[in-house]
Symmetry: C2
Subunit: 339 residues, 2 copies
């Protein structure tokens, strides 16, 4: 059963299990350093659809269908699906998953959505609220740019702090602890983050806006569990990029916590920053979703990584809030994965 440890952390007594996971990405992501690890790479980032939003919906649908297949389950076996994305009213999720006929719980955690959906799905599987629950998220460079920043046709120049929204989706099928088989990944514990706001207002510097939330949730988790960075093989943030990753490490050093030896960031892993012109790195719900649901979990299944803290980070803003002079608050949720 879920048991609270300290103030912010929930430990899974029996440890729900990841029965399947899948990632689907676009062309730029397929050409990146992790290209060979994704389940599906689309060279046409419209995916044959008539709009970027519909293409994103399709990414999410394909990721779920692939993950279900790998878990040997059908849509009718799933008790609920937790899904979210960056678009207004989470339409990628709604329209992408509509045909699956699975009880649907829309989530909004911005780029922390993969961690948020995975954490809730884990709690449902652990407690018996769901026998099988799916966690899924997506983002699409073109749908995000035109909604949050500029029309693509405008061709605006990007600042050095900007991150590149990944065209990608990741999906995970969680099962109850009793279903665990040899070699599968389990969720050991989760920590939900508090909204943190250091007053950053630059929507082209999301890494800086999210870094304080990431640092806070990690500090909370270490404090709750009495553990430290050396107890983990990997602390994986998603997605702080270069600026945010450096800031987070700097913030943690103020508390004398050095994660540099085990820290990596999905936004730094998904693209080759030297060759792919993405400035500070990748971002978008689908960035951490696809990196986690490909290379990272494959490394865990292969016995190369055992203890992974996955820390999803989100910037909770809208163009309207920014236009009204608001800063950009961040949030970060943590999921401790074990293999």
């Amino acid at each position: 059963m879920p048991t609270r440890i300290g103030k912010y952390t929930i430990e899974m007594g029996s440890k729900p299990v990841i029965l399947g996971f899948a990632s689907v990405v676009g062309k730029k992501e397929g050409e990146g350093p992790l290209g060979e690890y994704y389940d599906q790479c689309h060279n046409d980032t419209t995916l044959g659809e008539s709009s970027w939003e519909k293409a994103e919906s399709r990414l999410q649908n394909e990721a779920v269908v692939l993950a279900l297949g790998k878990a040997n389950l059908k849509n009718t076996d799933i008790d609920c699906i937790l899904a979210g994305d960056l678009l207004n009213q989470c339409i990628s999720s709604t329209f992408g998953l509509r045909s699956l006929n699975i009880p649907f719980l829309g989530q909004f955690g911005a780029c922390s959505t993969m961690a948020q959906t995975l954490a809730i799905a884990s709690l449902f599987a652990e407690s018996g609220a769901a026998r099988h629950a799916v966690a899924v998220t997506s983002s699409h460079f073109c749908s995000a740019e035109r909604q949050f920043r500029f029309p693509l046709e405008y061709g605006g120049q990007r600042t050095p702090t900007a991150q590149w929204t990944a065209t990608a989706a990741g999906a995970i099928v969680m099962g109850s602890p009793q279903q665990k088989q040899e070699g599968q990944i389990v969720v050991n514990s989760v920590s939900f983050g508090r909204i943190t706001d250091f007053g950053i207002k630059d929507a082209a510097n999301m890494g800086a806006a999210m870094a304080p939330a990431a640092a806070q949730t990690l500090l909370d988790y270490f404090s709750d569990t009495g553990s430290s960075p050396k107890d983990y093989d990997l602390i994986l943030t998603g997605d702080l990029g270069r600026i945010g990753s450096d800031l987070m490490e700097e913030l943690l050093m103020k508390d004398k916590i050095d994660i540099s030896a085990v820290h990596n960031d999905c936004g730094l892993m998904i693209y080759d920053r030297e060759k792919q012109d993405v400035h500070a790195g990748g971002s978008g719900c689908g960035c951490s979703g696809a990196v986690l649901c490909s290379y990272i979990m494959q490394q865990m299944m292969a016995g190369k990584l055992h203890k992974v803290l996955f820390l999803g980070t989100g910037a909770l803003m809208s163009p309207t809030s920014s236009q009204q002079g608001e800063s950009i608050p961040g949030v970060a949720h943590l999921v401790y994965l074990m293999a």
Copy 2:
């Protein structure tokens, strides 16, 4: 512990308890038939803020603070808050709750958000994932109109099927089953709904778009539990309005289920349709939130209602999805409340 009953319903073995609830509304709602039951009515619907969006954030914050007070709890006693609203990227929730420093899980269920947040908070409290969890939602007529329909200054004429987005918020503090005291309301079970789409495309007829989802979730629940309308004092939908309520009853009659004797709708209760010029009734996340967290729960605490099925209904669309030719899918989540 949560136990699955049938295909879609989760029964709470020990029954988590509602420790506090509160509602905060605007002027029009305060002048409506339930005016005397709200905790707070604002005559100035800006709430002294510089934008409608900030006013909505404030509604949500006030509802949470009042509910915490009635539960004799502080923000630091709360393990997580589940919050959502209609605005892009759920900014009413983020900015309204930022200062409370409570672990935050953004939810998107459109007007089903009160049921969705309450259902998840109940599961968390039941399973031990949270000792105390808060569910909250809000809407504001002015922020919703300009985002989803027309600028207020345009003064567009409303069609007869249109519903009036309530300026309102509702908040509930859930506690673990062990905390129950005499006379308090408990959550007995919940059912999460599937996305349902009958192809309605008129964004001024949300009731029709949501009615099929409401009918489906209720049918699922009756089928799972073997119960029927006569087993309940009230089946409370929120918010179908006049058109949607009639349609839902008609859809259920096809399965020979007659709920008319026990059915009411928050969208029909919140305004006086004869005098308040709201056409088909009220809507918006805050409509069902405020009606549930005032008159309904007060009636339950007073022993006048014992068994209430609360069925939150949401239309999962955005202006973008409608502009791209999409229909308006609905979703409905059910919470069975007992006093």
